[in-house]
Amino acid sequence: MSECKRDYGDFIVLTGLAGFTLWYLLDAIRVSATPQNLLLILPLAIIVLAIIALELFLRIKHGSLFRSSEEEPLHKTLPVVGLFAAYVLSLETLGFDIATVVFLALFLILKGERNWWLVGGYSVAFGLSVALFFSQMLPYPMTLLLLPS
């Protein structure tokens, strides 16, 4: 991701928050326009929108509407975020046990672990023991493919 895009990202987040606030306010009004329903939401939404407008105004005034971020570029972290998302989304399909083992192994490989014994050993030992611990401790049924549920 280029420097320029990161700068647009900040602007997008701010307008995204304004968009969410406006949508939530309209949804609350649609459900019921009574004072009891809007007592907190309406003034709070107006305050949020006013602060965002002020922030944008100050940025325009200082000529820094798309100001740069000094943080690490987002793209360096994206593979980790993607892997985590895939893990969460696969829990019900692969089961908490297998999905966890696969996630751990792929993460280790992604971050440079090349000792295959460690990759396999740690993923299987930690993944299965955690899945077993939680499946035994929690009062809810967990999807498990390998371990007894």
Binding site: G9, D10, V13, L14, L17, F20, T21, Y24, D27, A28, V31, S32, T34, P35, Q36, N37, L39, L40, I41, L44, A45, I47, V48, I51, I52, L54, E55, L58, S69, E71, L74, K76, T77, V80, V81, F84, A85, V88, L89, L91, E92, F96, T100, F103, L104, F107, L108, K111, G112, E113, F126, G127, V130, A131, F134, M137, L138, P139, Y140, M142
Partner: protein
């Protein structure tokens, strides 16, 4: 104020046999484990082991549950310091300076500071409870919904303005958090912002959201680092340094006492408790410090303030439970269930008729605090080894624990999905300088704020002048305005002074 005959009877109850004490050590260990495991809550541990208390007498049951509470209050600070993951919402502020201390290689000292502050805080909480149980319960009754709402707003404003340079972004994050906290069924039974999803009817699951925003998003950021502590020398676990940390905590007696008092007072307010007290104590300490900029960068005073407050909250919430029969939070709600299981109803009558039992619970907790020192010192060296684990092992392992823990909280895939969504939001917030703590606290307090405001509206009949008849509300509102505008004003004055001098 103190019934000395009841004091004697309570000592008899505790020391006539060893029965009550057999459950204390297992209780503290369970509390430490559940508190120190991200995603497992203290209230969860108490709820899981509540059925066991059916086979105990009332005193033994209360000692077991309060031991879990005491162990858990300190345990929650361990992952906050070592991994920047508050084990529970009561240790949020511990992470603010505890984790930066760990990253500087001062993890041993930070854990020592947390242990000493927790012990003193818990002790203070129960000492205050012993002397003040009756006046404290009277004070709590005087706090109405209007005061509660302004306290929430004040806390929110303080938290949002923690990042001095980006106050506007902090306020946006906090207030949007408050809005998110009102999603789902409101007080009048109408569902807002659910997008037709049934799993949002009860609102956004706050604890999984907190785990996502605090823990997962920070771990994403650290994914490219080798170790939590980069220097190999600094990664050593030294018991001597843990002791040094314990001594370090006593260098800040004022911070400790102030944190303890804030904890007791806030802990006694039903529904608020240690989740807010640690933050208020932290903010107050930062505000009063000569060098507020050093907070958030590994200042031990931040850890002292947070841990003293969250531990002393236990005494405060026990006051409300015993004196009024109202639970201050999740943990005391489980204790209330234990009361019911033993056919006991908390309240003024319970205190009058069973004063010996009340004192026995308080005295047993004094002893628990000292046991916590020993058990804590044995556990910390084991847990502190976490800094030796390479990040490529630590990050996925903690993410797995967070996902499993969130599943445990909701009982379905809503928990893990919430962790994922809020991890991404938290990561974006961190990247662009929005206050993640403000957003999380907003979500935690959103529904409570709405409830308090609605009750004030109902009591006043919609008449705004009602506020002017509430001096406490006005005083807290004045404090809110002062804390919002004092920082920029002071900065301007300082800049002007410096300009004049040069």
């Amino acid at each position: 104020m103190i019934d000395f005959a009841a004091v004697g009877q309570s000592l008899d109850l505790l020391f006539s046999n060893f029965g009550p004490w057999l459950v204390v050590v297992p209780g503290i260990v369970l509390g430490l484990i559940f508190g120190a495991t991200p995603g497992l809550q203290i209230s969860m541990a108490m709820a899981i082991f509540l059925p066991m208390t059916m086979y105990m007498d009332f005193i033994q049951a209360m000692l077991f549950l309060t031991a879990i509470f005491t162990g858990g209050s300190f345990g929650a600070g361990i992952p906050a310091i070592l991994m920047n993951i508050p084990g529970t919402s009561s240790a949020i502020a511990t992470a603010f300076d505890g984790y930066p201390m760990a990253r500087k290689g001062q993890h041993n000292q930070a854990l020592g500071v947390a242990l000493a502050s927790s012990v003193i805080g818990a002790l203070m909480g129960y000492v205050v409870l012993f002397f003040m149980i009756q006046p404290l319960s009277y004070m709590v009754l005087r706090l109405g919904p209007a005061e509660m709402f302004v306290v929430i707003l004040w806390g929110m404003t303080l938290i949002a303005s923690l990042k001095g340079e980006q106050v506007l972004k902090g306020l946006v994050a906090g207030f949007v958090g408050l809005l998110v906290g009102t999603i789902g069924f409101g007080e009048i039974g109408l569902a807002r912002g659910t997008m037709g999803q049934t799993y949002l009817l009860d609102g956004v699951p706050v604890i999984p959201a907190m785990m996502g925003m605090f823990a997962a998003s920070e771990l994403f950021k650290l994914a490219n680092k080798g170790f939590i502590v980069e220097s190999a020398d600094a990664r050593k676990v030294k018991v001597s340094e843990i002791f040094e940390g314990c001594r370090m905590a006593f260098r800040y007696p004022v911070v400790m006492i102030r944190g303890g008092l804030i904890g007791v007072l806030v802990g006694a307010v039903p529904g608020v408790g240690s989740s807010v007290s640690n933050l208020l104590s932290y903010i107050e300490t930062k505000r009063r410090d000569r060098d507020p900029d050093s907070f958030g960068k590994g200042n031990p005073k931040g850890v002292v303030a947070s841990e003293a407050a969250n531990s002393s909250s236990e005494g405060g919430s026990m006051a409300t439970l015993l004196a009024l029969g109202i639970p201050g939070g999740g943990a005391t709600a489980v204790m209330l269930a234990a009361f019911a299981m033993h056919n006991i109803t908390g309240g003024p009558q319970f205190i009058r008729q069973q004063t010996d039992v009340v004192y026995a619970i308080i005295f047993a907790n004094f002893a628990q605090v000292f046991l916590l020192v020993i058990i804590g010192l044995l556990f910390i060296p084991l847990l502190a080894n976490i800094v030796k684990v390479p990040m490529r092992y630590l990050i996925p392992s903690v993410l797995v624990l967070a996902v499993m823990g969130s599943f445990g909280l909701t009982g379905n895939m809503t928990g893990p999905a919430t962790v994922l969504i809020f991890a991404v939001i938290g990561w974006i917030f961190r990247h662009y300088g929005y206050s993640v703590p403000a957003a999380v606290i907003g979500m935690l307090l959103g529904s409570l704020a709405e409830k308090s405001l609605l009750h004030s509206y109902q009591i006043s009949g919609g008449d705004i002048t009602y506020v002017f008849e509430r001096p406490v509300t006005l005083a807290i509102f004045a404090l809110l305005l002062i804390s919002l505008f004092s920082q920029p004003l002071m900065k301007k004055l300082k800049a002007r002074q410096e300009a004049a001098q040069s």
